[in-house]
Every structure is written in C-alpha cells, then in structure tokens.
C-alpha cells in the first residue's frame, strides 16, 4: 500500500484514505473561442501515461477532502513530492536533484 503525504493535513497516511484523480495540470480549453475537435480530444482523452515521474492529482477523500497534486514515479510508485492545488508545477530536474 502507498503511503501518501497530504500537504494540507501535513500527515503521511495510507492510500485507502485517498482517491486518485488522474493526470495533473491539464487545462480545459478556453470555451470563449471556438474549440476544435482535436483540442477537445486532447483535453478529454489524451494522456501522457508516462513511464517515470508522473504529475497527478489526488484527493484526501477520507480526510480533509481536498484535492492536491503529486509527482510519483510510475516505475517504483515512489512519491517525489506532493503539493497544494494551485501551486506552481515543480521542475522535474529540481525534484530529481533533491531526491538523490
């Protein structure tokens, strides 16, 4: 089982308290301008599905109930960082440097 650090509760807790919520930092296309089928497809369906560090959203559903972001290595399932929603996307090179 994964142990996940909630950046709001400042606690590291078992995975069962959390719900995975898909890839992070995917912006909805601006609907005030015409949106092509391809843009909608990319927004709705296309995912990086990366083998390695993955930016993703989690929700502390059985705790504070809030969404936050995380970077997790999809090969080792190890979390590199979790951070609050709305915070700037951390640079991968910095994270990898820090985790050495």
């Amino acid at each position: 089982m994964l142990l996940i650090h909630c950046p709001y509760c400042a606690q590291t807790l078992p995975e069962l308290e959390f719900t995975y919520a898909g890839e992070a930092h995917i912006a909805r296309p601006d609907a005030s301008s015409p949106v092509s089928d391809e843009e909608w497809r990319n927004f709705l369906f296309i995912r990086t599905n990366v083998k390695g560090p993955h930016y993703e959203r989690w929700r502390h559903s059985h705790g504070c109930g809030r969404f936050f972001n995380a970077v997790r290595d999809t090969v080792s399932d190890r979390f590199l960082i979790t951070y609050k929603a709305g915070e700037k996307r951390p640079e991968l090179s910095d994270l990898l440097e820090k985790s050495k």
């Binding site: 089982m1 994964l2 995975e15 069962l16 719900t19 995975y20 089928d37 391809e38 909608w40 497809r41 990319n42 709705l44 369906f45 296309i46 995912r47 990086t48 599905n49 990366v50 083998k51 993955h54 993703e56 997790r72 999809t74 090969v75 080792s76 399932d77």
Partner: protein, 417 residues
C-alpha cells in the same frame, strides 16, 4: 519441426523423449523485414501467424523486450467469453470465439480451450435488469447468453451460496455456455511455433527503443537494443507499454496503464465446474486443470508500470470470494502477481491504422485482452496486409476519440471484463 500427433507422441515415448526438436528457433534479427510486430504476446504472435498463413507475408519479425508470452498473455486469468453489449464489440469478440473453437487443430497445438461456461452473478435489481438487457442484446446479435434463476445457477455451479441471508444474495445469473477458459501459455507457444514454421522470426529479450520515420513521414524501421532493424510496416501490440513505444513515433494515445492483479490458491480436487464472475462485488474465479483456484482482482486506482499492485485490492477480492463461496474460506493462496493493462476511456480496444503511414496499433484491451487473442490477431494481420481495416475492426479506430463515436463498454460493463 515435428507435427504433433498420437503417432509422434508414441514414437518419442519409445525413444525416451530424447529426440524432440525445439519448437521454434531463437532468431537473430535480419537487416530488414516486410513487417515488424512489436510485442510477442498472444496478439502479436497470432498476427504474425495469420500474416504468414492467410496473406502470404512471411518476411516478418516479432520483437519483444522480454520472453514471448511473458507479459499479460502469461498473467491473465484465462477467461474467454463474448457477451458484450454493443454490436461492434459483440462482432469482434464473437469472431474471436469462432476462432477459439478450431484453434488447437489449426495450430496443431493443444490450447486446452474448455467451454465450461461463464456464469455472471446478479446480486441486486440493477444487476438483474442490466444482465437481462445484455442477454437480449446478445441474442439479437446471435451471441449465446441466457438467464438462469438462482436455483438453476446453483445447479450449474454447486458450491455457490444462494441462501437469502448471504452477504451478497444471488438473484439469478447470466450464463454463456460457449464461454470458458484456455491455457494462456499454450496460446502464445502455439502461435509462436506455428508462425516460426512459416518463416517468422521471433526475437526475444530485445527492447524496441524507438520507431523511426523517413522524411516523408512513413515508417522506416525500429531502433532496438541490438541496433536498427528496417521495416516497411510496423505494428505495435505492446499492451501496457504501447504509449511508451508509440510516443517515439510522435503518436499520442488515449491510454492509461494500470496494474491488474490476479492470484492462485493451492491446488485442490475439482470443485468449481465453471467460471463465475460478479461485477458488483468485483470478483471472478475459476479452477485450472492443475486444480488451483484462479482469482482475478481489480486494477489499482493509480496508473503504474510496476507489475505489482497493492494488497488492499487482493484483500477486497478474497473477502468477496469467501462470501459467495463459503466453502473456500480455508483455502490458502499461493501466489499473486500483476500485469500492466492499457485502458481506454470507453474500455474498448483500438485496432487499426494510425496517422503515421505504415504504422498500425493494437492496444487498449484493458483488463480483457486474452479472450480476444485470435480475433485481435486475425484482424491486425488483415489490417497490416491490406492497409485497411476489416469490417469487424473498422469501428475500433483511434479517430473515434476525436469524432466522439465511442464504443462505450465502460458504461455497459461497469467493471469486470
């Protein structure tokens, strides 16, 4: 290579089984092929076999990063069925079922296809209504599926607990008689042997690191751990790793890769005569010919390439199995493992051409690719040979995610495949 028959068995038995020839050679890559298939699972090996057998294309290589059949082909719970809701899926999976029927004879290899029936349990009113809808839809499509009362289900599968006080009461079940199981490894081995006999090269332990394209955009070959191998056409059938491989050709896919787990018990005498599935409590179980109970669990909630998966899912599945079959609550589990499944948003496969000329893809089979093996292989071979999809796989395009013409088995089947 030896043709397997009662006579060859007898002859080799009399000579101490010392004269069996290897079933396929360990091929070294040539400089160029007509077709390269990435991924030596059942789907990829089968496609190579049908390319050689039905389309006369024998200058083919199947390349895998590991050993053949070592991915999801060797990790699934071996269930075969075709009772899908939508017309497109019913046609595709029933085509596979038709091919399963004659596969052992066709390959001259016993794949141990056993039509023991798949029983899908209904535990609540929603299940009853949804399964009956499935049955009607299946019958309109000529797919075998029928409704059993709880009593009839119990007669078909005696260890089932149908008492009204059960934690998950059984209100009835859908039964597909034609469905069942097959020996998963034998499917990969049978296809590998039959393809190799027709001149196909099977190259193992050779990761494909990139797909190369020429200035006109057309595929020119693949980069591998053993250097560049040229190809006029490349078909990717790499299950959970399809995103990674296709990304090197500049094709992004609507796929997410999740670990899916399964487990087996200690072997016991025959006790479970059929396959039993329960979508609502998410458990499926059958008994292998060796006597082990083979139990399928669910996918983890997070994407991963770890081929492990988390223990909470196993706990949940085993708890559900013990409620449905109290007789199993003292069984000991021997092993559990995970495979990486590539899941599409509508839970239907992508099988056809890609925006890159000469590049084809067979992916997105998610948690249910084994049952489709002969059908998917047959359609992939057709698509590669003719450079256009067959009528059966034509709806399973990559474009459907742009047009919105989805085949939404996700909503239809809810969970278990």
């Amino acid at each position: 290579m030896t043709h397997f028959s009662a006579l060859s068995l007898l002859k080799n038995a009399l000579t101490g089984n010392k004269n069996w020839a290897p079933q396929w050679p360990d091929s070294q890559p040539k400089a160029e092929y007509d077709v390269i298939i990435v991924g030596a699972g059942g789907h990829g090996l089968g496609a190579a076999y049908y390319l050689a057998k039905e389309h006369g294309i024998t200058n083919v290589a199947v390349i895998d990063k590991g050993w053949l059949g070592g991915g999801n082909t060797g990790r699934n719970t071996t269930i075969i069925r075709s009772n899908y809701l939508y017309d497109e899926s019913a046609r595709l999976y029933d085509h596979a079922l038709d091919l399963w029927d004659g596969l052992s004879q066709d390959l001259n290899y016993n794949v141990m296809y056993s039509k023991r029936g798949v029983l899908m349990l209904a535990h609540n009113v929603h299940d009853v209504q949804s399964f009956k809808r499935h049955i009607h839809s299946n019958r309109l499509n000529g797919v075998d599926n029928r409704w059993l009362s709880a009593q009839e289900a119990r007669e078909f599968c005696p260890p089932l607990d149908i008492s009204p006080t059960a934690r998950f009461p059984v209100l009835g079940a859908a039964l597909q008689n034609r469905a069942g199981t097959a020996r998963h490894d034998a499917v990969a081995w049978g296809y590998a042997r039959a393809a190799a006999m027709r001149g196909v090269d099977i190259i193992q332990n050779c990761p494909v690191t990139a797909i190369r394209r020429g200035p006109d955009g057309h595929v020119t070959g693949v980069e591998t751990a053993r250097g560049f191998i040229g190809a006029k056409k490349v078909a990717v059938s790499a299950a959970g790793h399809t995103s990674v491989v296709m990304d090197t050709a500049g094709v992004r896919l609507p796929l997410e890769s999740y670990p899916l787990q399964a487990l087996v018990s200690e072997p016991v005498k025959p006790v479970l005569p059929c396959v039993v599935m329960s979508n609502t409590v998410h458990a499926y179980i059958s008994q292998s010919d060796k006597g082990e109970l083979v139990i399928g669990s669910g996918t983890d909630q997070y994407t991963s390439y770890s081929q492990r998966g988390g223990l909470p899912l196993i706990e949940h599945t085993v708890a559900a199995i013990c409620e449905i079959f109290p007789i199993f609550n003292r069984m000991r589990m021997l092993r559990k493992w995970g495979g990486i499944v590539d899941v599409t948003p509508d839970r239907s496969a992508i099988l056809g051409k890609t925006p890159v000329p000469g590049l084809y893809v067979n992916c997105g089979w998610g948690t249910g690719g084994f049952k489709a093996t002969p059908g998917a292989a047959h359609m992939l071979a057709w698509t590669v040979a003719k450079d256009e999809p067959h009528a059966i796989n034509a709806p399973f395009t990559l474009e459907r995610f742009g047009t919105g013409r989805l085949i939404d088995e996700a909503a239809a089947a809810a969970v278990a495949h």
